[in-house]
Structures are given as structure tokens and as C-alpha cells.
């Protein structure tokens, strides 16, 4: 199923090195679909039938237990998600829902597994991708276990500032309640945490954040490349 996003997909580092023939096989087997907002694409526990590639829109990966829910990550275009479940042929550990209208490419997991057994370069890309993802989750665990929620927020803001170009003022690209969940706290606590960062020069107006004194905030947040370092790969 051809799609105008093909060059972009081919450029993902997961696919950029593979043989053209293998890539074509994946593309032929796949299909592309549009989803409305708030659709649950995947439920944890389901068999992993497809590797998903988000072409446009955004997707929330979340997990539930005992009537509680937590947001694990946000997927943004163009990137793949649930790669690990696909290669293991194991049930999804996370659920996924569209946050907005989204266009998604679905590649049958069996084809992915078949191809990576034949195409060494593809296998190597998968190794690289999985290793990146693993390291990303380890960093997240360190963030959760070693920092208070105030510290997590401070470091999040500094990372976000960089991603947004480094200007004094930038936008959160996430709803605050989702951000709270990602950071492992409640909305109420996040709201108070923003207040708690005011002494360090953080000003909040809607989803616009201004960091008046970056040095000061860094002094509090103590960012560390082994936790906050940029390794934002596509999420498997």
C-alpha cells in the first residue's frame, strides 16, 4: 500500500539501512489507516499482530492496573511503536490510543519477523533501535526512583526547552494532566509543582512556559546526561 509518507518511513533509522527488496515486501504487506481521536488502537494483553508506524497525529501509550492508569509515553510522527512485542511475538504490555486524528501504517508482525531473519541489515537496525529504547526506559526508571516530582518536573522543563529550540519561552506540547501522568504524579500535584518552581524563575501561562533564569533552574534540577540525555528513538 503506497503512501506519500513512504520516503519518511524509509528514512527512519529502523528502515534506512535495509535492502530495498525487504522494504518493499514490508510495504506491500502493510496498510495505512486513519483513526479518529481517542480511539484505543491497542489494548495491553492483546497479541501483537502489527508493528505500528505513526505517520501523522499523536498516540498515547498507557498502562492500567487495578483501576489505575498511567501514561508511559507519547508517540509523535514519524516513529514506530511496540517493536519489542512484535519481535518477541508476545502480548502488548501497553495500550495505545490516538490523542488526535492520526494516520497509522500497520505492518503485520509476522512479515517483520520474516524479513528481519533474512535481511541482516534490518536485524542490525532493530538491535540498535531496541537498545536505544531499553536505555530510554532505564533513564526513565532512574528519573522516577532518584528524583522527587518537583525535580522530575524541573528536568522535564529543561529538556522540553531544548527540544523547543532553547528559547526562554516555549510551549508544552502535552495536556497538563497527561504530563502529570507521564511524570508519575497527579494533576493537582503538578499544578502545585509549577508553583514550587516559581522561586527558580519558572512562569506558567496556560501551556506557555517561561524560564526566566535558566542557571537558577539548572542549579535546582541538576540535569544529568545519564538520565536526561537525548535518546528519543521511536518507541517500540
Amino acid at each position: 500500500m503506497p503512501d506519500s509518507h513512504l520516503p519518511e518511513i524509509r528514512a527512519l533509522h529502523l528502515f534506512s539501512d535495509m535492502e530495498e527488496e525487504s522494504f518493499q515486501r514490508l510495504v506491500r504487506a502493510s496498510y495505512v489507516q486513519n483513526f479518529p481521536p481517542q480511539i484505543e488502537l491497542i489494548s495491553e494483553g492483546d497479541p501483537s499482530d502489527f508493528l505500528h508506524i505513526l505517520l501523522t497525529g499523536s498516540v498515547d501509550l498507557f498502562s492500567t492496573w487495578n483501576d489505575r492508569e498511567t501514561s508511559m509515553a507519547t508517540v509523535r510522527p514519524v516513529s514506530t511503536f511496540i517493536l519489542a512485542a512484535t519481535v518477541k511475538d508476545a502480548p502488548y504490555l501497553m495500550s495505545a490510543r490516538t490523542m488526535e486524528k492520526s494516520r497509522i501504517m500497520l505492518i503485520p508482525s509476522q512479515d517483520v519477523r520474516d524479513v528481519f531473519e533474512m535481511d541482516t541489515k534490518f536485524a542490525l537496525s532493530i538491535v540498535d533501535e531496541l537498545a536505544s529504547c531499553y536505555r530510554g526506559v532505564i533513564k526513565n526508571t532512574k528519573d522516577l526512583k532518584l528524583r522527587t516530582s518537583l525535580e522530575r518536573l524541573a528536568n522535564y522543563l529543561l529538556r522540553q526547552q531544548v527540544r523547543a529550540g532553547g528559547g526562554e519561552t516555549f510551549e508544552l506540547e502535552t495536556e497538563k494532566r497527561r504530563l502529570a501522568s507521564v511524570l508519575g504524579m497527579t494533576s493537582e500535584n503538578l499544578s502545585r509543582a509549577f508553583k514550587g518552581l516559581k522561586p527558580y524563575g519558572v512562569e506558567v501561562k496556560g501551556n506557555k512556559i517561561t524560564i526566566r533564569d535558566q542557571e537558577d533552574l539548572i542549579g535546582f534540577a541538576k540535569p544529568n546526561p545519564l538520565i536526561d540525555g537525548r535518546t528519543q528513538p521511536s518507541t517500540p
Copy 2:
């Protein structure tokens, strides 16, 4: 460097499928070393020069930030650790120290990377291993974000019971303060958490645990295969 542990290493699923020639190359390049207890083998941030394989003893993987420290995992024989850093040729995200006298095999990371580019079966095993590890960390994140410390302890005990053979009484194979750190809490809190599980039939005597009424504890802990499911691979 030949070693009596070679058959065991060969049997690790990371190495079991690879070509004999590739395996021999790794073995020739590697060396085996004994370490006393409490030796820091690896410091986070260091370049990842070697893939480590724990032959005997035990190793604690931990991380630090801002004078705080947390235990991320315990490695037990025979298994590899810090595979992800090795394949990415990136700095270690965790430190490692021996908990007791340990025998460790070290394979130069460069050789691992060279071999996995040539030996497809080895590459596929690495994919499998990394995917397992990734899923393991995701489960851990869900445990941390969705459960209170009392719930984490309850589920830990149930998992441990299974690993120990399923009997009513079994032993913790971890020092309590390390267990506390692994579960993301303080020693004091762990001590009180054990008390908090008494109403559910948990009895503690030193490092011997007895679960009088498993049904009752399960009712409280609500274990879930997507969090507690057995996927204990060697830790990369």
C-alpha cells in the same frame, strides 16, 4: 581463554544459536577474572569496553544521582549484563558492583559488535535478548507507577515464592536493604511494609518468609502477568 563455565555460557540463549566459529572468536578474545566482594566493576558514564558475563557470585546494578542511590537489578549466574551499552557503544547508564566474591567473563565490546554483524543468528539472539530486557524494564516501570510500596512488596513476595519452588516458606535471596532499594523504598518503610502484610498471612523471620494464606495475599496483591510475568532474562 577457556573456562569450565564454557558449556554454561554456550547454553545462554544469547549464545546458544550462534555459529561455533563466532563463539570461539568471542571466547578467544575474552578473559575471565575473579573479583572480591564490594568491588565496583563498572561506573555509570564509563565507556562500555566489555560485555560482562557473571559466572559465579552476584552483582548489583545501581545508579546514583545527587548523592542518592538506587538499586536497579541484581544479576545472578549465569547471565550477561550491560548488553545494550555494548551494542550501542555508548556509556554505561548503571554502575555494577560485586555483592560477593564473583567470577566474571569479559568480552571486548568491539568483538561483540564485530561478531554480531557477521553472524546473523547471533544478531537475532541479541534482538530477542534486548526485546526481553526492554519488556522487563517496562514491567518494572508499571510496577513503580501503578502500585504503592505495600503492593509492590506483596507482588514481589509472590514472585519470589514461585521462583523458590512455590512452598509456603521460602528465603529472600537479597539483603533487606537492597530489596528496599530495588522496590523503590527505604529500609524503614520496607520493615513497616512487612508488618502491613501480616494481616494477609505474611510472616517474616530473618530472611525466611512464610505465606500462610496465599489466596488472601493474592487478593490483596492482584498480581498481573503483564507486570509480574516471568521474563527474567539476563540483564544487559
